[in-house]
Symmetry: C2
Subunit: 274 residues, 2 copies
Amino acid sequence: MNRVTPDRPLSRIDGHAHAWTPRKARARFRWGVFGPTAGVAAGHTQANLISLPADWAYDMLLFCQRNPKPCPVLDVTDAGSWTTPLAEGADLRTDLPRYRVWENGELVAEPTDVVAYWRDDLVSFLIGCSFTFEWALSEAGVPMRHIEQGRNVSMYVTSRACRPAGRLHGPMVVSMRPVPPEHLAAAIRESTMLPAVHGSPVHCGDPSGLGIDDLGRPDFGDPVDAEPDDIPVFWACGVTPQAAVMASRPPFAITHAPGQMFLTDARDEQYRVA
Amino acid sequence: MNRVTPDRPLSRIDGHAHAWTPRKARARFRWGVFGPTAGVAAGHTQANLISLPADWAYDMLLFCQRNPKPCPVLDVTDAGSWTTPLAEGADLRTDLPRYRVWENGELVAEPTDVVAYWRDDLVSFLIGCSFTFEWALSEAGVPMRHIEQGRNVSMYVTSRACRPAGRLHGPMVVSMRPVPPEHLAAAIRESTMLPAVHGSPVHCGDPSGLGIDDLGRPDFGDPVDAEPDDIPVFWACGVTPQAAVMASRPPFAITHAPGQMFLTDARDEQYRVA
């Protein structure tokens, strides 16, 4: 499910990407810059995108309500609109680094803008992303192995089914970060306080508990090297709606490319409960 | 908006109502027992009900997503269904103490069951209720004045507009509890940890900040006596969807009567983030 030649993470292309403003990041993506956004625009909330025809919007919104850990909804647009109050002046058709276009559950294109694919009946969902809590984890001293290694985070399709909603069904997707045992408590504590961006982990340790055979072969993103004592920690992932599109085959959908997120103007602190 | 002769709170009718199981409470309501449910079935999650025709369901779900503090969704049924995974064996048409039936935004009946009013196209929303966090506040030492006084909680329509969604719009409704200053921190802390049941207060102190003229004249529920030093603390309230029905006038709706909630089998702890 990955590109043959994966895009290079932006944090590797520009050592100052963490200091970009979200507006500057969106402008660059609009000009054609692309790549995974982990580590970009420190402290600003990143979001998953899924755009579906309006007659599928209720099923998707209900799917999100029934599966709040993988699908925490940050905003829903009106049909046809490409704007959101989460990012002033943004255009959802052009301001993500890379998109995926789906027909009947099949990936048909991975363009860097979707102006040519846009439809007036598309309702867009912006869904919380675990990149949001990475800053909180980093500040609490938890090393982010994938950022250190200049890679996209590892993501896996699990054996755990989401609760279906109407025509939508599919497996939960998770992101995994190797966490040193002495930092496990901080990783759990900090992410727990951010329930709007996946919240606490869904699983720690043996990946077979989620039906994952080989951590070295992620379904999305890059493999990430762990230190010998690291514990794999799994968070519900906003790529889950993409997996639902692949399983449920709506006639048309647009999503972000995994790891290449929408940068909002919101601050991560806004989503902390305490 | 209140009944001329308000129903007596159940905690006043039966001194052991706090020890009822949710199943027993639902069975009693099914037999015809009614009254406000504050203080009933300690530690079990209570829910607001709103049932709307299916063609209004997307607007309501989006309204809830856009107004998560007053409208935290706990469950949504399939069209026509009166069951929910939150309460085994429950019948949403009979198992609430008292209902309200609405036509074009006008209250037309307040029956103790809605079997005669049920329609196959109704989608029911169960929405978190502040009665859920009252137990957490009580255990932290915060006095619950309305329960001590055997009254329903005071609720007010505010001057704060909800973010509209499709055809639905309306003001935010709040519940108010007088809190002694020495308990204010605990009241805020404990409710903050329960974002799925309204979370932290939306306002403390001067009610004019919410456009409320007279705390002694609530729009729903009973007036509650405060001690001289008490600070009025306002939480977003699940009666907000009822106010949206009154303002937006869908052709048909069923809701719970204010304060007379649905008792689920869920435990309040399930909704704590930490």
